[in-house]
């Protein structure tokens, strides 16, 4: 009975400490940088298109089969603005089914899917929490802005860039060649003239 | 105006209800409850007479003192009797007065 008084002391001390809870809808606890919310698709702002090419690797490795994806030919590739020959046409994730395991992020080869910080999504119906491509990209953009997301390795060049690079390098080469030529010319002005 | 006869008639009614219960019910517990009612009938009567007696106050209190004793005895009785009923029930698997016929030949 007497040792029970110690317990009263503990609770009294507890009562004098500040509260540790937060009132949820009003205050939010800080979210850790690594926090895994629902998966989102990232947006390649350089190319103005998603990173995702619809390669289906995440769909295949998803333990709950909550995703589906479809790819299409990339118009921008045809136009030469992008290095991606194929691009995602439609992507759907049933977030009610997603278990936030992060396997899709692990297996993705293109940095195209990320676990965003989105975590407050609840719906009444079982199938109401399906999100489609635009929404996933929105989530992705928000997430990218939040964490100042960076690609793990730079994308290869697009055809246009390649052409540009090629042009530049050719130009460079040409200019080098020119300068070489001029050098040569300066070295041997006569022979050039001869050749011409 | 409240009169003594009111108490007396009420007491008589309670008493006869108690008698009916004692005679008619089979469950030993209910028989005991009926006895309680009879005791209460007596109490009502005593209290009534005490209230209406015009003798000295210390004598008037006799009725109430008797009631105190009756309540005491009633409490003792019900406790003991219920214990007996319980014992009988444990031994014989029944709390009916009709089944308590081992002495009957």
């Amino acid at each position: 009975m007497l040792s029970g008084l110690k317990g009263l002391g503990v609770t009294l001390r507890g009562a004098l400490r500040p509260k540790v809870t937060t009132e949820y809808p009003k205050e939010h606890l800080p979210i850790d940088e690594r926090f895994m919310g629902f998966p989102a698709l990232t947006w390649d702002s350089n190319r103005v298109e998603p990173y995702c090419t619809g390669c289906m690797v995440c769909v295949r490795y998803c333990p709950t089969q909550c995703m589906s994806a479809q790819m299409k030919d990339n118009d921008k590739f045809v136009e030469g603005d992008s290095h991606r020959k194929k691009i995602i046409e439609s992507f759907e994730i049933n977030l009610s089914r997603c278990i936030l395991c992060g396997i899709c992020v692990d297996v993705c080869n293109f940095d195209a899917i990320e676990m965003s910080h989105e975590h407050e999504r609840s719906e009444r119906l079982r199938n109401a929490n399906r999100v489609d491509l635009p929404e996933l990209l929105e989530m992705g953009k928000k997430y990218q802005a939040e964490v100042r997301w960076k690609q793990s390795k730079p994308s290869p060049a697009s055809p246009n860039e390649k052409a540009e690079i090629k042009a530049v390098s050719e130009a460079k080469k040409a200019s080098e060649a020119d300068s070489e030529a001029t050098n040569k010319q300066s070295e041997a002005p006569d022979s050039g003239e001869d050749a011409a | 105006m409240l009169e003594l006869v009111h108490f007396q008639v009420l007491s008589a009614a309670l008493f006869s209800i108690g008698i009916f219960g004692v005679l008619a019910r089979r469950s030993a517990v209910l028989v005991l409850i009926s006895i309680e009612i009879m005791l209460n009938a007596v109490n009502v009567n005593l209290v009534g007479i005490a209230a209406f007696s015009d003798r000295a106050a210390d004598v008037r209190v006799f009725g109430q003192i008797l009631v105190v004793f009756i309540i005491t005895i009633a409490a003792a009785e019900i406790g003991l009797a219920l214990a007996i009923v319980l014992r009988v029930f444990r031994n014989r698997g029944s709390a009916n007065v009709d089944d308590l016929n081992v002495m009957k030949w």
Partner: protein, 411 residues
Amino acid sequence: MSFIEVVFAIAGLFGLFTGLAVAVLSLTWMERKTLARIQQRAGPSVVGPHGLLQPVADAMKLATKEDMIPNYADKLLFWMAPIFVAVPAFMIWIAIPFGDNLAVRVLDLGLLYLVAISGIGVVGLLMGGWASSSRYSMLGGLRAAAQLVSYEIPIVIVILSIAVLVQSLSLDAVIGGNTISIGDDTRDLPGQGAIPFAFIMPMGLLIFLIAGLAELGRTPFDIHHAESEVVGGPFVEYSGAHWAVFFLAEYLNTFVISALIVILFFGGWSWPAPPESLFGNDLSSTATNLIGGAWLMIKTYLVAIGIFWIRGTYPRLRIDQLMAFAWQVLIPLSFVNLVLIAIVLFYDWPLWVMTAVSLPIILGVGIAVQRRRGARGRPQTVRILRRSAGEIGVPMPPASTPVTDQVQAGG
């Protein structure tokens, strides 16, 4: 009884009912806030400032909830049980004095009245438990009956000791002091304005507090509606308004026990110093009564917070331990208390003798209760074994673990 008196009585009753309803609501809020504070939470905070209107919202919710009656329930008893619990809880308040000679009905037999009325609630619990036709309710009802009947005894005996001390059964005398004459001997008996009985009868206070907690069915004696065992006991099957009535009665009883502790041991509405010394002599009796009532309420709420604090700390007892505690510790102690005060008064010793004798007894009993199982409160049966990793061979325990006296259940 004249017409005016009847009107006053009705007005008083009405005022009391309203006041009690408000008190219950505030008490629920206070309990939640106190527990939240102890547990470092926020507690109700959404409805109204600091969640003050939360109890009102809860009451509205309960009132509008569907009132379900189980199929096999005994409808009549099921319906009547909350009434049997709540009506006595209200009736007790008729006798509680809020000021000098200020109660709905000032009773000469106030103390006996309290004891008598508070006993009826048990039947309501038993009734509800039986009528719900749920085994948890049944168990809870039986537990409640056993517990409340047992713990009523120490409460009655402590109240008796108070009555012996003030030589009256009137609550006013308990607070305000009394002059009595036995034969030729005229004595001034102490009122609590001078010295709260908590100092004269600390043992009585302790017994009353513990037994009062048990009467309320509050932690650590909440076995009859222990959520983790009988899931709410007699109230399992109740919902909506019926449940609300039980709830109301429970909090009313909490309030009444707190008020009784204040009235019996902490001077009720009386001041530590006479109010004249604080406010001067020109205080009207109404003002004195108002201040006294407020003072009583403040003390009562403080005691209630203490009860909530205990609830936030202790685990609950088991039924056999609970009964054993009542019959082996509390009841003998309360008799000791009664006999002590009788001796002190009979031999006309000063009252501090009572205090001086009580304190060592309390301490002794506390230590005895604690040490019943041995030298220390905590069993020393767990040791830390250090084994090097992968060591071959595990030291096996002895063939059968010795069952010493400490592993006998209960006691």
